[in-house]
Each structure stands twice: as structure tokens, then as C-alpha cells.
Amino acid sequence: MKKILPPLLVLAVCVAILWKWTYGFSAFTVFSYTLREAGAIPRIFPDAALIDQDSSVFHIKDKQKYVLVNFVYLNCPYVCHKVNNRLEEIDKAISPEIIPSQLELVTVSFDVGNDNIRKIKNYRNRFGSDIHGWSFALPHQTSQSEFDTFLLRAGIWAKAAPGGSIINHSIYLFLVSPENKIVKIFDPAREDDASIIEKIRSCIKG
């Protein structure tokens, strides 16, 4: 009986390490772990001052309506643009029925060092003039470390890869309620537009 103790003890320790590392075997990627670590939904969307493409400063909590928030950086070689193209389709599918009266879209750049108002304005113009209720924004008067804390509290993983040009990041879309609570989180890599639109509609309808 004594002989079985060392392997059993070691097995227990090893399982505990893997359990802790994967948030109870539920989060195997940095994205899902960061999201789980931020807390279960519904939860308060962290506050940060943002500045949009027209230089207007705003807070998500002050919108008093549903807001679909996503995070990008303009130098992203691929995935951010793909997600924004999806958002464009979503915007067109539910506008003007819901947007902008009940829902707004906010795309926030987390690349404080490289992106600026001129760049986000030019970037927004690429989507044409018929994207209603969709703002592109930057953190306003916020240091990189403060904004990094905000991202972690929101559940977004964003870290520059060695070399600096690529930022590894999550692509989740957060649906924030008028009470400033995250009520739905969408993963555009796993969900199609129709499913996202349906869930947004059902949330807004209550």
C-alpha cells in the first residue's frame, strides 16, 4: 500500500497544476484563460475614457444603450480586418432597425503607440459612409499600462510579440448593456454572423 503513495501523490499534484493552469480544464488558450480570469458574465464593463474618430471623448458607460465593443490594432496583418469586415456585415444587417437607436458599435484600437485619430478616421472611411452608429476609438489620456489593466479586466489578451510589429490578441466581441454590464461575449472565430445577430436581437428584445 505504501508503494502506491508516491505515484498517487505526484499524480494529484500534477493534476492540480494542470487544473490551475487551465482554469479547471476549461481554458486552454491565453484568450480563453484571460476571459475566464476576468469573471463570469454578466459583469461590469471596465471604465476607460475613449476618443473617437471625430475627436469626441466618451465612456461606454455613458452611452445608456447596448454597445458592441471589439478591440483591434490597425497594423494587424490579417485577423482584425477580417473581424471588422464581419462587423460591417452585422452593422448592415441590423441597421437601421436597431442601430443606432438601441445599439452602437465601438471598435477600440489598443495600439496606443502607433494608432492615432487620423489613422482611425482613415481606416473607418474605408468601410464607406453608410456605416451608422459605428465608432472607431482610441484610449484617451490613458497610459499603456493603465490601458493594459483595462484590457485584462475586460477579458482581452493583448501582448506584443518579440520584435514588436505583431500584437497577439483576443478577437472577442463584447455586448455591453445600457447598465454597463457585459451580457454576451461572442467569438467570431467560432460563431457565424447569423448566430451573433440573433443573440444581439434577443438580448435587446429582452
Binding site: 502506491i4 505515484p7 505526484v10 491565453v30 497577439n168
Partner: protein, 189 residues
């Protein structure tokens, strides 16, 4: 005296290779997923095996402790194959070095156990590792979602293919041990 010089040279070679793989070549290994997972990780494990061959006197005799050590080795292999761990090794080079040391130790302790462990465990351990590597390879090959943000989907699929090949090689290795030991047992009868 000659043996001592030979051993010292081998130890120095292992040390130099560990340093080269872990420091000057780290950026090159970290550039793509196949290099990181299929070259750097096994390279460190192999260096650990070489180190154990050098230190022949370090042996774990008790079966229970041998199994405990093999569980630790298996856990470390699982740990460093998790997408979260892989991403963090790319973002933080110091964390990648933790992986290097862990793999070196895993290779070292595998051999210190291997020398004295019973035949049944010699079969079970590579079989389990092969199954795990194959399952990981198949997952990486078939997933259309990027699991590690530091790499691309193409690299993820390429790594999956290489892991499937490694898994099969490990199975062949396991079968070789099985039939060799069975043949030996038959002769003894």
C-alpha cells in the same frame, strides 16, 4: 583519465548546445510553431537524455518512485503542449527558458528511471506518450481555429502533421521494445 576527458567533453558539448538552443538560436526556434514544438522542445529533451547517459550512476530503482517520475515527465510534456503555455513561451523568453530546463530535466529523469524500470512500464510509458502526441497532432491538424496567437493556422496544421509522424514513430518504438522483450522472455523459458 581518458574516460574523464571524454565525459568532460561530452558535458561541455551538452552545455554549449543547451546555451546555443536556449539563447542565440531562441529567436529562430520561436519564429514558427513547427520549429518551437517539433525541434526546440525535443532537442532539449534529447539533451537531457544525453546528460543522463553521462551520469550513469544516477538511477531510480524503486518502481513506485519510477512511476511517480514518469508521471511528472508526462505532465511536463502535456503542460508545454498546451496552447496557453506555448503562447506565453513566445511572449516571455524567460518562460521559454523554464520550458528548456523542464524538458532537459524530463529527458534526464526519463533515462534514470528507464534503466531499472519493469518491462510493462517500458511499454506503457511510450505508448501513452505516443497516444498523447498523436491526439495533439490530430487536434492541431483538424482545428480550423487558431489556438496559439503567436503563430499562424498553416503553422498549426504543419505542426499537427509532424506530431502525427512523431506519434507513429513512438508507437513503432514501443512495439520494438515489446517484441524484443517478448523474444528475450521466450529464450529464457
Amino acid at each position: 583519465m581518458h574516460k574523464r576527458i571524454k565525459d568532460s567533453a561530452l558535458l561541455l558539448t551538452i552545455g554549449v548546445l543547451f546555451f546555443v538552443f536556449s539563447f542565440p538560436m531562441n529567436d529562430w526556434f520561436s519564429l514558427t510553431m513547427p520549429r518551437h514544438q517539433v525541434l526546440q522542445l525535443p532537442a532539449m529533451f534529447t539533451l537531457g537524455i544525453a546528460l543522463a547517459i553521462l551520469f550513469k550512476k544516477v538511477n531510480i530503482h524503486a518502481i513506485s518512485w519510477g512511476i511517480a517520475v514518469l508521471i511528472m515527465v508526462m505532465t511536463s510534456l502535456i503542460f508545454w503542449m498546451l496552447p496557453r503555455s506555448i503562447d506565453l513561451t513566445i511572449v516571455y523568453p524567460w518562460f521559454n527558458r523554464v520550458m528548456h530546463v523542464t524538458m532537459l530535466m524530463a529527458g534526464f529523469f526519463t533515462i534514470t528511471v528507464w534503466r531499472n524500470i519493469i518491462f510493462e512500464i517500458k511499454i506503457t510509458f511510450p505508448g501513452m506518450v505516443a497516444a498523447m502526441v498523436l491526439a495533439t497532432g490530430l487536434a492541431l491538424r483538424t482545428f480550423t481555429i487558431l489556438l496559439c496567437s503567436s503563430f499562424t493556422l498553416e503553422q498549426q496544421k504543419e505542426t499537427g502533421l509532424y506530431l502525427i509522424v512523431i506519434g507513429f514513430v513512438l508507437f513503432v518504438f514501443m512495439l520494438t521494445i515489446l517484441f524484443r522483450e517478448l523474444g528475450r522472455a521466450k529464450k529464457e523459458e
